[in-house]
Amino acid sequence: MLDIVFTVIGRDLKLAMRRQADIVSALFFFIIVVSLFPLGIGPELDLLRQLAPGVLWVAALLATMLSLPRLFADDLRDGTLEQLALSPHPLGLVVTGKVIAHWLVSGLPLALIAPVLGIQFDLSGDALFVLTAAILLGTPALSGIGAIGAALTLGLRGGGVLLSLLVLPLYIPVLIFGAGAVDATVSGLGGEGHLSLLAAMTIAAIGFAPWASAAALKIALE
Amino acid sequence: MIYWNSFADFIAMGGYGFYVWGSFGVTALVMAIEPIAVGRSRKTTIARLKRQLRAESRSKEA
């Protein structure tokens, strides 16, 4: 049963490797967006320290979102999606595999680079740790929710922007708790509560989103 | 029972006239426009459907 999940993950990762651009690019987008802010806002460290959690999280949201349109679109265009829908495995499991692969390519690298960027904003060691943990816990939820949006807008021209319209509102709770975790740590309140909420969201999203996406995909294929 | 002393007081709303009437006005406007828009779209839809129906029956006769 779980075989199919691993097969899909393996295939998607291999494709990502083959394209190379995919892996580095989400990461570089994240880095560039985060670095743009000091340019737009000015160099005062006090101000930047206050901004850091928000900016890092918004950038993480956008970086994840940017790669969403292609989550299913390539498979639709070349006919692979039809074949997946015709495979004797539940489509939800196939989507689970794709969501996990998406996270491995677009979420995990962000968590790894986040501490480095956090240093640029003069965050303390504690805050850096919580920031990393929050991004690690929160990004799978982003991939999961994003998959629903990607499936719903599949095949619609102009879908990329419509997708962000659908998905960003749903990302907001993750943003609030993710940034809140770091804020709480900085102000000495402790971010554990926020982190466990993030974990709960991620579990809910990973459990539920693939099936909603699968339903949406079937509609798109009609 | 009525709380206001004069009509002018009522309009002034204790200095909050702009905000209160701004709220009520826009709401009234929206709630007037929406039914009109619904009614108009209903009329155009019916007209269009009838045109189609007539065209269809004509092409069937021909």
Binding site: I4, T7, V8, R11, K14, L15, R18, R19, D74, R77, D78, G79, T80, E82, Q83, L84, A85, L86, S87, P88, H89, P90, V94, K218, L221, E222 | -
Partner: protein, 204 residues
Amino acid sequence: MLEADNLECVRGERRLFAGLSFTLEAGELLYLQGRNGAGKTSLLRMLIGLLPPEVGEIRWQGEAIARHRDDYHAALCYLGHLNAIKEELTPLENLLAGARLAGETLSEDDAIDALEQVGLAGREDLACKYLSQGQKRRVALARLVIDRRPLWILDEPFVALDVGAVDWLAGVISAHLQRGGMAVMTTHQPVAIPAGTVRELRIG
């Protein structure tokens, strides 16, 4: 046995066909005909269960496919007008990944064999984006060499193939029918399938 019972297809405003019924037994090929836009592709998508018919029902081994999707899909091999191959992967990788996703096991040797049969020897390790149109189609068709599922549904399989490849594919379909398989196929090119019973159905 595949049965279609009183199918009706409506796309947009247009009723493409209605009251369409047929049964297909082991060893039979259903050859769908009709002009462009008659609804052949739409019918095939109904048969594979991706487009719910407006009216009517499709049954596989006596059971409605809408209710026994997984069993039905395990018995079905569909080849649409899209090739379902990834441009970045090589023919070999495409073939292996495709089989695994369809829930089958396929050894690398068998896959290389199949690619050789479709005339892609020497191109197993070239990314598919460098192949010509006909060669891409051949990668997709390589699946048929190894596929042993009973029902094949093929939408214009001969498109882009050269004369040699057309003959070869006709042979593969014949062999499938002789093995007791069934097939539904559309094509605008007249192609002779040497074995099996060919039943024609014209829509529109």
